[in-house]
Symmetry: D2
Subunit: 409 residues, 4 copies
């Protein structure tokens, strides 16, 4: 496979906000021999992963696992609960929110796209009051669903989903709450049941630390009820048959056996009580985010997210000074230092790059990535105020990881 | 992963007609580190797998690779070329043809299901003359597509696709020809272009020897043309954006990176000139099928496929005598001999089991499976006319594999 | 790695009496990242494997693990307890006993080689009474050690080690008892302490199901005592420093980290209470041996081992009729059926082949191998009395594996 | 394998001077199924690795590959060319030179240990003039061999082997030149033939990037001639049988099959013309060494090697200020930052730690390790003059890797 092997030595640093680096432990699990998806071993595996993934979504209701990537799960969410021509209210937090809106439109839904003007909306989270106002105005309850993105992968902004729930409730509006947490789940705190979400969409290649290829719909009883009368054509994505077959740990069609092996392993890793379970996972990502932002601030560069209360624990968008092409900087870092960073997407093309700090990382992985950034920025002619690497070292050294504190206690 | 490890020793014999046993070489390729699906390495990989898979479909036109399992590719084929309420002519060759028909109906198409009566249709291939007659009767050209299954995984019958093409041509009918070759591709000869197929659907977990998780639509220019005006809602499955992005080796959304590594390896294995390329692949499966059928005949049991001209090279359906529950036999073979066989599906439930002879096998793998069957049949009280194992040994010993003949020459 | 990939499809059947087929589970364990052999993780691993391997030797005394293959462990055993010119009594059971005797001679020991005349000694186990007689005659106690092979890999004969112990005791002779159980350990019952063995030599690539590369000396207190005054030059092989360092789980020099990962996994597999532990391991190999011998008898061929009380549970030597070159038969089976069998060694060259039935096998693996043998024998012109494959199927079907019986109970 | 998995996320940074981090590509190669070490596939593999390893030693003469770790290869070198009581001249460059001397003494050789007094000898390379003087004084030619270490793993000093050769020649002395290049081979330039070395010892777990477990003796015709009359008892280590069997790609006893798969892969990686072959390997390590030393100098700490002309490209010894326990610093870095560093050995215990910069590294791997060191030093109370991390970034950014320059040209 020569295309994967052009670097003479050393491991590539994959610091994009997903696909995240996959732990060897998961790659090993994925290499178990493929088994009969109708046999007893598979049924046991199915029950196990369904139970594990529900814990990660923090839900007691069904989670559908699709043998398809995250974009498919967006489509699944929409087609299960809507009918052609339905009105859905979506909120523009960034490029992925825009792509989802584009999909909904293409599927024949009437989409309305709220948001702050210009780049402003891409630098702040969902403004729940705008949703509340819009819903109050919809006295006929024409709006069938409110669609928001939990963690905007294109910007590094994490929205307050509970606030959206409260906005819908304050408006006394029956619309379903649909949330994309593709890049938030298993990195940022996410509570499907407690936050009253009706459909949460997620994927495998972010906090779950799996390769891309499987995706999820966590569904509330209200969403299931809605799906029974929704008229959008659906078959592959239809929840009903899957939920029925899942009772025995099976699927109506062939599931992605080997990615499910990986998912079983990922659940074990993320939920392991001896490592602190989900709270430790969330704390870990928060801490990494703070370390990376310390570096960006020291460089004197702007963080894409303009509201510190919604900084993403998953990724940080780094804005370039005028006259610097962010993709040229990324190319230098990639070619000279074996490190991949995320490109600016849509409106942000060329203006920013994104540093992923999620999944199978540790402090030194991030120090490596930040070193690559600092060298690459300088080589690209960006004037830096101070060493971000030094600032990140100061932060990491003075803030031990929470697990370590527990160990010491 | 205890559920995959309950046998104290030895490798499980996975002799179902898919998922087929995955070669270690492919499992190793799938364990390459996940990379940036927007980076230059990925683009090179994308170009490579798209070129390889087109060779395997024997087409010069686009092949769409979906990050979704085979059932998704069925839906993709239908949604790209039809509009709600369109009339499609489908042919019942077995359980999978029935599932596809059920899906088309669920998606809102008007389906017409041709076929021979009772179990008869499940024991013979597509009767092309029935299609020809029906199309001739459709003088208004209401029928938009003819849908047939190339290799019926539920029965072990391979239909003559070229005959279907000729039937459509003889009827001078403009309907698209859509073929499911999920379990035929890369085991049985299949020629997308030469046979005039408009859309061929396939999956990863059969002749391509990959785990399930990616699937394919090979599309003719006529199909692409039809997709431009088709009105079924589509986004994830839409060919247009994918074909456009594929020019650079990329996808509009996140592809299944690690399964694509496996696909690159599978293409190398199947197309390797030093192993004889596709003709050797097809000859190998034909020979395995003959060996297995020799065993079934010696046992005195019926082969599900009643027409020797369309025996499947991929699997053989073995019919049980009256009073024997095929699934009870399968269970004995599974529990006593670590061997999985395919269950009877739909109408054939309990009446037959299926032996897969595809993918990463060799003569002794099949001898092992046949030994397990012979022991299990006897333990289940089935009276056997003679030793099928002996018959298969006679066949394999007297018919060297074609590659070996080449070596000797 | 093209040399390992010349077969177009399917897994090779490695049915030699070692290296045995390595379970994927162990190959996966061996792919854990290499760690610091002086760090705390390694110490924990060292303690764990030392404890596990002692259980497998059934000893409470030290087991030395060498980062060297089995032949090295032969040399280690000899150099730790002997002085140049020492007299050792060895017993010729086959080719490996002869190689060990050759090594002892080369190292400067005075070796005496007992045994039955001609091929007779290669078809029967150690004649303990001959050892007893010889020791009784050694009234000066010039003989320092008695060296015997537990399971002769070249013939398929397992000697009665307890009888040898009793012979030494009956002769009231102080010689050390040294036993090669390279191919016996973890397949045939072996009890280092209970049988009063002073040094047992073993290796990784047989019953332990690991690749070759590490080897063992299990040592009695009497052997350790002897090592303190023995004068053979030794450093790498010296027990003293290793035993001392092993207390913390470390070695005086760099151990084979990744093979030790495999050993930890092998111990878990072999000792797992839920699979019946060592008794189940021994019963499994006994049963496999009986099945294979049933086939050989049906063929009308002679089993190399002429004494049914000492049939090896690890391998079976199959003697060829006059005029048949066993290696020509092996070549046919290898080239036509992807199956490796053991060659005849030394005196038995060309006269026999050996079928390994050890390690990561199951019934169908052996049925595959026997099918390959039966086809290959016929293709080579050997007249067979009846089908050995049929006989083996009769045996396996009528004798369920003991674990299965337990499950049913 | 819980002991290998106590860190909740991220890959451990193994920055000891061996075992070096093993590339995934090699771990994958090691997971190929074990094959018959007497079969044709193995013979082809054997020929291939013997040819590859000779290129790496830069020799046209035999290289013996032992299924044993590096310490075994030391013993092999000594036992093949010496007789009990022979006089050998060894030179103390550090801990490993001392261990080799201890081994020679234990094997019954009369060892003479040259060197500079106190720690001075551990901070400089071999003083060839001292060897020349000593050999000139040996007018009776009692000294049979001169033994030196090429790259002292305990100190980070690389000796000039050609100078030693010239010293022996200048003294017109017939002694054999024996060199330990266990940690030098495949990282530092090494020329067995051109430098007139008689026996070079090496191992797998350093520049070859394999796990520990196999080791090497490269032998000159003069050494082979000497081995014919040398009287030290030898069997396992004896060159004669191995060299004879190696002609066909085989070994007289079971070789470490799976590590040889890894060796084949390592040879492909190191010799690949598209990556620049050995000259690029050596340049890469030189550059890494310079980057790491830039950091140490910036910190204001002493480099263990006091002579800049013999800085090791493989590792750097970092001396602690008075009152700081180097092992306490290492522990902080290990526990807080998932990074293993080498301990001070022998005389240097507690006074230094060692940073490995060899094998499967890249610039960012080293930046990660240096960040871990800088944070750990500060947390341990070491006063640093300036940021070593900043200095290393300056160096790496301003000195592109040679391969990159070639690409650009």
């Amino acid at each position: 496979m020569p295309t994967l092997d052009f670097h003479p030595t050393g491991r590539h640093f994959l610091q994009i906000p997903g696909p995240s680096p996959v732990p060897d432990r998961i790659l090993r699990a994925m290499s178990y021999p493929t088994i009969d998806h109708r046999g007893p071993e598979f049924g046991a595996l199915g029950v196990r992963v369904l139970k594990g993934i529900a814990q990660i979504f923090q839900t007691k209701h069904p989670v559908i696992i699709y043998p398809a990537s995250g974009t498919g799960a967006w489509e699944a969410a929409l087609t299960n609960v809507t009918s052609p021509g339905d009105h859905v209210l979506m909120y523009e937090t960034g490029h992925f929110a825009s792509l989802w809106q584009k999909m909904a439109t293409r599927l024949g839904l009437k989409t309305e796209f709220l948001g702050l003007p210009g780049m402003e909306g891409w630098r702040r989270g969902v403004q729940a009051h705008m949703i509340e106002e819009r819903l109050k105005a919809d006295t006929q309850h024409a709006i069938k669903a409110v669609c928001v993105v939990h963690n905007e992968t294109s910007t590094g902004v994490t929205s307050n989903i509970l606030a959206v729930r409260r906005a819908i409730d304050a408006a006394k509006h029956p619309a379903l709450l649909m949330v994309d947490s593709i890049s938030g789940l298993a990195s940022a705190d996410y509570r499907h049941d407690e936050w009253g979400v009706d459909v949460t969409i997620s994927g495998s290649q972010k906090g779950l630390m799996l390769p891309p290829g499987i995706s999820f719909n966590a569904v509330s009883p209200k969403a299931i009820e809605a799906s029974k009368t929704a008229k959008m054509p659906k078959a592959f994505w239809a929840w009903d048959e899957i939920i029925e077959m899942n009772k025995g740990g099976y699927w109506p069609y062939t599931p992605s056996t080997n990615l499910l092996y990986g998912l079983a392993e990922a659940c074990d890793m993320l939920l392991a009580p001896e490592h602190g379970g989900l709270p430790a996972v969330f704390a870990r990502h928060q801490r990494w985010g703070e370390g990376v932002r310390a570096a960006v601030r020291a460089w004197g560069l702007d963080i894409q997210c303009a509201d510190p209360t919604v900084y993403s624990p998953v990724l940080t968008g780094v804005m370039m000074p005028e006259g610097i092409d962010a993709d040229a900087v990324r190319r230098v870092i990639y070619e000279r230092f074996d490190c991949s960073l995320g490109t600016g997407l849509g409106k942000a093309k060329g203006k920013m790059f994104r540093i992923g700090h999620l999944g199978d990382c540790n402090d030194l992985t991030l120090m490596a990535a930040l070193s690559g950034c600092e060298m690459g920025l300088k080589l690209s002619g960006v004037k830096l105020a101070a060493s971000g690497v030094a600032a990140a070292m100061d932060f990491f050294a003075s803030h031990p990881a929470p697990q370590l504190l527990q160990k010491a206690a």
